[in-house]
């Protein structure tokens, strides 16, 4: 058949590393178990033989893997015993991205990931290691833009597409306010100021108290030191992961490059975007920062992984950002239909339920520490109030916007046509009080996303349902696209 090209020999190393990574859990227990006794020697030999087999396998696998671009198709032949020949038509390809790990970058190589529609990983393809020029060539050859546009593009070398990059300052802010590190830090500091109260007075006399206090201070210092280090690592991690983050808007796709050590590319066809979210975590919200993400249908299947459109941005600039990069979603409402006050008790009850039980339990068994769960319960009440005040909705012609809060405040923008189904719920108390819960379902790269807000005024909920109902929409005017 056709003479395909081989991957760059470093593909052997990647394959080998991959195999070893999978086998390591099997190899470690016997190694540890036999450490120091007579079998150790044999186990070492076994592992060595296994390693050689892996090397052999990786080499043969490399020898048997060829690819070629023929007539608008990518053809891949692979497999040692079972030969697998796959052709992917360029018209079916949704995105081709070049990713460079550290090793790739040392040798000026790249990985080419090819994604087709559908979320089945088995259908997609990847060239684990080719030279960068080759990867670029494959990418150009398979981009389904049509030859006319391609030549045009090459001559002008990228006309003025909207583009936005992250600055170093933003990165540091993103890192220092990222994730749980900050929360842990705050909680720990708060917790340690209380620590001395935990030691009952009668437990030790003056002398030991002094030593103990010293020890506690030392431990405290150590822990804080440790946390600061963790925090620093968090910042470093963010800088490495999102360093040189750039997002570019083309006609019908978004293109993201990021990474300081590992360079990643990602193409998001606009068609696949199901919703845009603006997330403000508890630490970022008071500082006025947010991150912008999208829910995408299909693609890499990973629970809870959202694709960031921008790692950190001033909340006030989000609208401007969307206006430039994703004008389809540029409408970020500021006024929301809020929940009536009589919905508040349900929020409080659901939040306080657990702390209340804990309070009772502690009250019975550990009466001395009763103040702890009570603090927790008060925090829960405050949080419930915060939640109740945050939640809301907004509708415009084509878009619904929900604001919700778990811990972070999440503003989610969804187009009418991206909502798969709409649900209004009332339990018997809500029925009596004319309240309702609204839930909308949309598609994403995992099991779908179902966003619900409880405690709407019934009239407001019905207003939302009228907005969603195609039967009722059909009367004023026909919906237009996007």
């Amino acid at each position: 058949m056709s003479n395909g090209k081989r991957l760059h020999p470093t593909a052997i190393i990647f394959k080998l590393m991959y195999s070893i990574k999978n086998a390591i859990y099997v190899a470690i227990p016997p190694l540890i178990a036999s450490f120091g006794n007579d079998f150790f020697f044999w186990v070492i030999i076994g592992v060595g033989v296994l390693f050689l087999l892996f090397v052999l396998y990786s080499v043969v696998d490399w020898l048997r893997f060829t690819y070629a671009v023929v007539d608008d198709e990518l053809r891949i032949h692979q497999g040692i015993f079972i030969r697998n020949k796959r052709s992917i038509s360029k018209h079916r390809i949704q995105s081709i991205d070049l990713t460079q790990g550290v090793l790739h970058r040392i040798f000026k190589l790249t990985k080419v990931s090819i994604e087709t529609a559908g979320s089945n990983q088995g259908v997609d393809a990847a060239l684990s290691s080719v030279t960068f020029e080759e990867g670029k060539a494959v990418q150009d050859a398979l981009k389904s833009k049509g030859p006319v546009v391609e030549t045009e593009e090459e001559q002008q070398e990228e006309p003025d597409y909207p583009k936005k990059s992250v600055t170093n300052k933003e990165l540091v802010i993103a890192g220092s306010t990222s994730g749980s590190i900050g929360v842990i830090l705050g909680l720990m500091l708060l917790g340690f100021s209380e620590v001395e109260r935990f030691i009952p007075e009668s437990a030790y006399d003056e002398a030991t108290r002094w030593i103990l206090a010293l020890a506690i201070e030392a431990i405290l210092g150590l822990v804080i030191f440790f946390l600061v280090i963790l925090w620093g690592l968090g910042i470093l991690g963010t800088v490495i992961k999102y360093g040189r983050f750039t997002i570019t808007r083309y006609e019908d796709e978004l293109f993201i490059t990021r990474g300081l050590l590992e360079k990643k590319q990602m193409t998001i066809p606009l068609k696949r975007i199901q919703a845009v979210g603006i997330k403000e975590s508890l630490i970022r919200q008071p500082l006025g920062f947010a991150s912008v993400y999208v829910e995408i249908a299909g693609g890499e299947v990973k629970a809870g992984s959202r694709t960031l459109l921008f790692p950190i941005i001033k909340k006030a600039n989000v609208e401007q950002f969307l206006h430039e990069i994703l004008p389809e979603y540029q409408e970020v409402p500021t006024e929301f239909t809020k929940l009536p006050t009589r919905a508040l008790p349900y929020y409080i009850i659901s939040m306080v339920f657990l702390p209340a039980i804990i309070t009772v339990a502690v009250g019975i068994f550990l009466t001395d520490f009763i103040y702890l769960p009570i603090i927790l319960a008060i925090a829960a009440v405050l949080f419930a109030i915060l939640k109740h005040r945050t939640h809301g909705s907004h509708i415009s012609e084509q878009q619904i916007t929900f604001v919700t809060r778990d811990f972070s405040k999440d503003t989610i923008l969804v187009k009418h046509k991206r909502i798969q189904s709409f649900e209004k719920r009332q339990h018997f108390l809500q029925r009596k009080q004319n309240l309702a819960t609204v839930r909308i379902s949309m598609l994403n790269n995992f099991a779908g996303r179902h966003e619900s807000v409880s405690g709407f005024e019934l009239e407001d909920a019905d207003h939302l349902s009228d907005w969603y109902s195609l039967r009722k929409r059909a009367i004023p005017n026909n919906s237009d696209e996007n």
Binding site: S421, R425, S441, L443, A461, D462
Partner: protein
Amino acid sequence: MREAPKNRIAKDALKAWKLTAIIVMSVFWALTIGGFVLVYFMDWSYWVISFIAAGVAILTYVTVFLIPKIRWRRWRYEVFDQEIYIQHGILIVSRVLVPMIRVQHVDTKQGPILKKYRLASLTISTAATTHEIPALPEAEAEELRDQISVLARVDEDDV
């Protein structure tokens, strides 16, 4: 979503649900009777087992008589040209709108109990959710399935 959907599901759904609940409860009763036998032979106190029997009796009443009745009374559906409208729920009443253009496929299903009463259930799937109308007369379910599948056949190239 101000008014409830118009159509009720088949009256026989009540019988089918009752039968299902009776089958489940008979397992509990068998266990309870087994418990009594054990208590008799082992000469234990009847206290605990009587308590359990009372619990099972209440559960039987709730699952065989109460729940099917409320559930049936609550279940409504209506199929429009543009969307499907469903109401269900016992304590929490839920009303769902599924636009026809979002419907990916429709199935009818029939287990042995539904078959006995010539009923079938209809399942409507979108890309992110599934919805079931639990007990319709066989012929009606099939007719509805075909009707929905025709209505859902709207040209829309995106997801």
